[in-house]
């Protein structure tokens, strides 16, 4: 059974979901924009008999405190520091699996840089590490905002924070929209409607350039350390191209790549494939049974 908790980290009340037996193998769930740990609610239920799992809401997302972006720096470094501190505060440390989706990639990679011994195996689901992974949806961020951040270059990006676009993030590439609960975008929009929430997200769009700059380092680490890796890639993701998933195989020739007829949140409509895939990968490839 999933529990809903808070822990103080980085001076903030950080919300997290937790499921599974604390003595079971650890699996850290790191999600992405524009969701929160809400996106893992079904995974937590489905894998509670196999893993001990936690999933945090990052500052500015979900139920974690959202400090004023005028005084608190919304950067991926800062979010990763808060997650790191939260993990240490609840004692969720040491060898573990990492499930990384979207922003969960940059945050997970920073955690691995700090604690290389924590990464036992990884699941990568639409978390990008390659230039060719960016779709045209990023053009206004990569080619305009990163070059020159001002009110004019920010304005078009606010569309990503509005109802129809947030909904489109869930539905683009989704074969059967009736399997996608509107709770997803309604929940995101509740959080995005808070005063200051748009500023928070624009700050992170801008800071994402630091991730693109780190991609070569992360690729090099993959090549050198060859972590056991299972990749699920929604082929219709509004943000990341199918080539972004394929690219991992250049650096990780032994990784398992499962292409899903799905979008950014493949976990919503391909839950069974993903949880069965994780169980089987963990048993065969991680434990070697």
């Amino acid at each position: 059974m999933t529990t809903f908790n808070t822990v103080n980290a980085g001076g903030l009340d950080v919300f997290y979901r937790e499921a599974g037996d604390p003595s079971a193998p650890k699996l850290l769930l790191l999600g992405g924009f524009p969701s929160s740990s809400h996106q893992f609610r079904n995974v937590l239920d489905a894998l509670a008999g196999t893993f001990h799992m936690v999933s945090f809401d990052y500052p500015g997302f979900g139920n974690t405190e959202m400090p004023d972006p005028g005084t608190w720096d919304y950067t991926f470094d800062h979010l990763a520091d808060v997650v790191d501190e939260a993990l240490q505060a609840i004692g969720f440390t040491g060898p573990m699996g990492l499930y990384m989706q979207d922003y969960g990639g940059p945050i997970g990679n920073r955690l691995i840089s700090k604690h290389p011994d924590w990464l036992q195996w990884q699941v990568i689901q639409n978390a990008n590490t390659y230039e060719e992974g960016f779709t045209a949806a990023w053009d206004g961020i990569r080619h305009v905002l990163w070059a020159n951040r001002n009110a004019e270059t920010e304005a078009p990006l606010e569309a990503f924070l509005e109802h129809d676009t947030v909904k489109a993030i869930y539905l683009t590439g989704t074969k059967d929209p009736s399997r996608m609960t509107p709770d997803n975008w309604n929940m995101d929009l509740w959080f995005l409607a808070r005063p200051g929430a748009h500023r928070v997200q624009l700050d992170l769009f801008y800071d994402y350039r630091t991730n693109a700059a780190l991609y070569p380092d992360w690729q090099e680490r993959l090549r050198l350390t060859q972590p056991k890796t299972l990749i699920f890639w929604g082929q219709g993701d509004i943000f990341f191209t199918p080539e972004g998933g394929d690219a991992y195989l250049r650096d990780l020739p032994d990784a398992t790549l499962i292409k899903l007829d799905a979008g950014h949140f493949a976990i919503e409509d391909h839950l069974d494939e993903i949880v069965d895939g994780i169980r089987s990968f963990y048993s065969k490839d991680v434990l070697g049974k």
Binding site: M1, T2, T3, F4, N5, F15, D183, N186, M187
Partner: protein
């Protein structure tokens, strides 16, 4: 509120959980466009069941679902083969008096002062209270419950929809004698699976079914108004046990 229960029943039953008009993801026309009352919501529910070609059914009633379900039962008693009441009230003794006093005051005299008192129910903290009050372990209750409710209730004009229904709630109390006669006459199989810590409908409301239904099964569960959030497996087990004992061909 049924998201976790539905998968636990779906293997054996066809489960339907409508959003009432003005709630959740159903349309929410303004009060000028639709005459909101428990009667009109029950009428829409009946139309939905007809449309889905649901002939006979058992029903799970919770809170507002109870007066809507009771109306379906009074209208077409032959369609109902069993009832599960989870804090779905049918007796005066079920009301938590302190909670309901402002509602009755607003129904008697809808003025600025009585309206302000019932409007409190639309605030985030009070919606959250509905989910957490009476729960022995609040860490089991997902925050998206009260956040989503808050979002829906705070849509433009939805406050007026909710006020209409608040004002109309007294019509449900007026219906209780007929509902109780229906129980006595039909002896419909009934399971009361009742959150004992509910700050809106107290356990005496569950116990009261026994007065009219000699074989009613009454189970008090450690939890509150939305006991499914913390005890869905217990409720599903009780329901599967109870429903499997009922002959639905009768």
């Amino acid at each position: 509120m049924f998201r976790n229960l539905i998968p636990l029943l779906a293997e054996r039953y066809r489960v339907i959980a409508p959003d009432h008009l003005g709630f959740g993801l159903s349309d929410a026309p303004s009060i000028d466009q639709f005459d909101y009352s428990f009667e009109s919501l029950a009428g829409l529910t009946k139309e939905l069941l007809d449309h889905l070609e649901v002939d006979r059914f058992s029903m799970y009633v919770h809170d507002y679902g109870a007066p809507i379900g009771w109306r379906l039962a009074l209208d077409q008693p032959e369609r109902i083969w069993a009832i599960v009441s989870q804090n779905g009230n049918a007796y005066e003794q079920g009301f938590e008096q302190e909670f309901w006093e402002p509602v009755w005051a607003y129904a008697r005299d809808g003025n600025e002062e009585t309206e302000a008192a019932v409007r409190g129910a639309f605030q985030l903290e009070n919606i959250r209270w509905q989910y957490l009050h009476g729960e022995p372990d609040v860490s089991l209750v997902a925050p998206e419950t009260w956040l989503q409710d808050h979002q829906r209730v705070n849509r433009a004009g939805n406050d007026l929809v909710q006020l209409r229904l608040t004002k109309d709630y007294i019509s449900n109390v007026q219906l209780y004698p007929s509902v109780q006669s229906f129980f006595r006459e039909t002896q419909v199989p009934l399971l009361a699976a009742w959150g004992r810590g509910d700050g809106i409908f107290v356990p005496d409301g569950a116990r009261a079914f026994a007065a009219d239904l000699s074989s009613a099964r009454i189970e008090l569960i450690d939890g509150g108004h939305f006991v499914l959030e913390s005890s869905v497996e217990i409720v599903a087990q009780l329901m599967n046990d109870f429903l499997s004992t009922v002959d639905r061909r009768k």
